[in-house]
Amino acid sequence: MSAGPERHGTRLRPGPLSFIFDGRRYTGQAGDTAASALLASGVRLLGRSVKYRRARGLFSAGFEEPNALLTVGVRPSVIPNVPASQLVLSEGMVLRSQNRWPTLGFDLASLLQAGGGFFGAGFYYKTFIWPSWRTYEPLVRHLAGLGEAPRACQLPPVAIEHLHCDVLIAGAGPAGLAAARAAARAGARVVLCESEPACGGELEFEPGMIEGRSAAAWVAMTLAELATLGARVLVSTTVVTDDSGEFIAHAEPGGLPGRNTVYHIRPHAMVMAAGAIERPIVFCNNDRPGVMLLGAAERYLARYGAQVGQEAVLFANHDRVYAAAQRLLAGGLRVRAIVDTRAADAPGTDSEVQRLRESLVRSGVECLSAHAVIGAEGGRAVRAARIAPLAGAGARTGRRISCDTILVSGGWSPALNAGLHGSDARRFAPAVGAFVAGSQTDWRRYAGSANGHFDLAAVLQDGHGAGARAAAHAGARGSAGAHPQGSGDAPPRLAPFARSPATGPAEKRQFIDLQNDVTVADLRTALAEGFIDIEHVKRYTTLGIGTEQGRSSTVVGGAILAELKGETLAAVGTSRSRPPYHPVTMQSIAGFHVGAAVKVARRTPLHDWHATHGGMLEPMGLWMRPRYYLASGANPFDAAVAEARRVRAHGGIADGSTLGKLEIAGPDAAAFLDFLYLSKASTIRVGRSKYMVNLREDGCVLDDGLVLRLAHDRFIATTSSGHGTHMLAHFEYYRATDWAGHRVSVTDVTEAWAAIVVAGPHSRAALSQVLGAPWQGRLSQLAHMDFADGQFGGQDLRVLRASFSGELAVELHCRPAMAVPLWEALICAGLEPYGLEALDILRLEKGYLVSSELNGQTTPLDLGMESLVRQGNPCLGRELLDRPAFHEASRPRLVGLRAADGRAQFLAGAQLTTEAAPAQPCGYVTSSAYSPTLGEWLGLALVARDCVSERALLTARDPLRGSDTPVRVVSAVHFDPSSERMKT
């Protein structure tokens, strides 16, 4: 489509721009939004409504757009539901209309609208009961939903900036600008956020005079001054919510995700100057393409030189309509009539407005008082407005004025509670016909229309005052100077008017919520069925839950509800708004936590070695650990079996650096550990270690590990890898509370020590070779659970003789810088690495506990630690362990399992049953693995005590995986029960 003559507007730059809408190529101009370019190209039909699929066009020029939502981009990576009014075009952009099939012009499902009242509020609750909702649901789901579901997302990660300032101001209209200037002049560090790409608010099109200049010149001058005062002005940026005193603002240049920035702003004071949103007046067929907000027409004209139509009827309840009409007339729109709901002698008609009105009449505009537009004619576009007097003859039928556009304005509703959970106080202001801010705090206040100010002079003064007070609250000591003087359009003097009179059937086409097709008839139904509170009405009718978050509908909906209930709007109230203030993309919310970076990964000092030597790294909590090594086998099972076999036959090394290590030091260290562990640490001799378990407050086992006594007053407590962070907090908690005032400290040294496990019959020979002469004698002197400190390569080395494999083994604790050289030396000495999977096999063969036994549901009694419990150490959790339930026969007990036939496989997660009660589990398999050493499947299980006897026969029932395996209860220690291998 041809470009037409070049248009002029505040947001336009010269130069054509082509884009595609529903497969057709159009030409716009640099700076155009999709809305302005399509308007200029004469496109009126832009979407279909959710429920009835009625034809819809542009309704607004801002975020409150309920109708003209587009899908942007090409498949698979599309962005759905982008308001055309917010979307700044770029060359070649591909746009599609939504929610229609097969085409926007002819939508099959629009036949539904013939059902009219049938599909009204509550429809779904009353039917589709037989045979079941599931029968109808797929069709309903496909008819519902607005834009296309994206098949991919190719958005880059967002930029993030954390800002600290004295005063944050949301909104850069006249109030916000005056506030920012006052605060900055007073010496405050100011951040000013404006949702639109340009500052000024309605000053963009309302030609007021401020401080002797045109409004536009004043805006430019103020922005220049703010820049010199060091204020940050962020355009296309909306404060979306308050996160406990930290405001989150999202910048989305061009109205489309792609180059987003998320700001976390921490101000000392906040001014909300978010302006007001024009509200419609509801009449029959007020949803037809061509019915639009009056302010939208002005914005499209001033910003983009775009005409919203040829011939218009204006419909309003206030004085501002006359000045607007004059500007639109001057801009080339033929204004056929102005329909004012107020009586001719209404107090609003002051002399200046009278003069304006007379001049409009002279220009051929018909000016009607005490009249209303009672209906729009036309299907896919407005063809005429039906006008009627509000009283007397002709009030029901009215007369027809042909036009293609009806511009409507029912006043303005302040944008309150920008993302603040709707919890701020608000009060009804009759002169505004809406709610304004109520009581305010020093640190967060409102300015401008939010306080009910609608004439420029008052708005500027209010903004200035709010900015100055906010700066003072933030501690700025300078003078804010005098408030800016200005004059603009006359005060609106509106007379609240929410909807035109209508007959019953016509109320079914009086649309309140355009996106969700909520009509006056729906409100009546809701009331008749007892949904009388505004919150109930919202939930029952879906009023105000659309993508524009009810901006275009909640106040007018409340007013109509008040009318139907015979109450005041003040009494009816409005439903609570919910954050975010603007819908924000999930990618922006996710921040940098996307893809591989979704969660930080912790790496051991050997991480890179594993990665470059075929170690299959897998997450364990935040840690990355090698599960197996590719060189050992192609799949996890084969590799683990080979690695485990190798350790028993020869030897191997494993990375144990993820084990948590807490250094507990001070004169009270031993007593502190006695409190935190089931058995006593104070009996450990220096140079020795001990396997110990921690209890949770309720007596269940929390964690297990070794405790090493380094000195009389110094210990290292190791924790399992997955619990390290939690155990650190646990130790710190009791140090800070019950043990406050005692002389003990807790220091996390997990990362200060790498740990290499060296296990297997060949391990001692390899170690002697690697550690060399200084260690030779000491190694052979180390008894089981002894450790020795020394040096390796000039750095600290601790050799701990402990085994979790049942083999002769040590753990080498070294500084991280030495981990790779030590590891490689061990490899040179003939040892090969093994992974977590093999480690688990080795542990299981020895009956050592893993996380599936320490699952937070087991007590030390369940795990066979009666002797430790009986020692009677009065540790944390000990008292509650005496509760009767923990001693009942139904409590589990840890046992070993083998297949009855010595061959069959059984898996962890299988439930165990007895022959007597085949449907009632008496326990379950906690761990299982194939043991290459014993040549069969082994398991550990928790089984009710009354079902446990040596050689008892149970069934491992695994219906999920289709197996029932007879298993026999055996000792949990499957291999080398006397532990000769690791002790010699």
Binding site: R602, D713, G741, R743, E751, A752, R815
Partner: protein, 166 residues
Amino acid sequence: MDSSNTCSIARGPARTALEFSAFGGPRPDFIAVSWPTAPGGVIRDELQRPELLHFAPDRWLAPGPTAQVSALLRAAADTGAGVLVDATGKWVELLIAGPGAARLLASAIAVEAVLDRRGCAAVTLFDCPAILARQNDDFVLWVQASYAADFIATAERFRAMLRSGA
């Protein structure tokens, strides 16, 4: 490219690190004249590099202590008011330098607020536990070693984004 947003991220040398923990209670007598007692207090060498950082209640970090600092810490431990723990390898030192350093860190935290009237602060940057301090016009930080690789990767991504003027 905007030169005001450029910065570099450099790993410091691996050095001995000591952590001192006091047992709390009344103001202990170990405190020498130069000991940083205020929250976030730091003592620095002549090049303004932090030598002893008070990063948490009753806790101090000495990254790469000189003989003098070591002696100071040992003397404090000898009074019995606290203990010294060798944390060598726990922290990875990183220097973030250049005109864009503050902006890079602002991708993770409100730097100015966090370091307001203090020499150092314990923080979490891109989900990584760290101790952050100013060093002349630049920033120095000690990240817990297991997080360091991820921290550098995330910081480098933001650095590239800022350099390209996003």
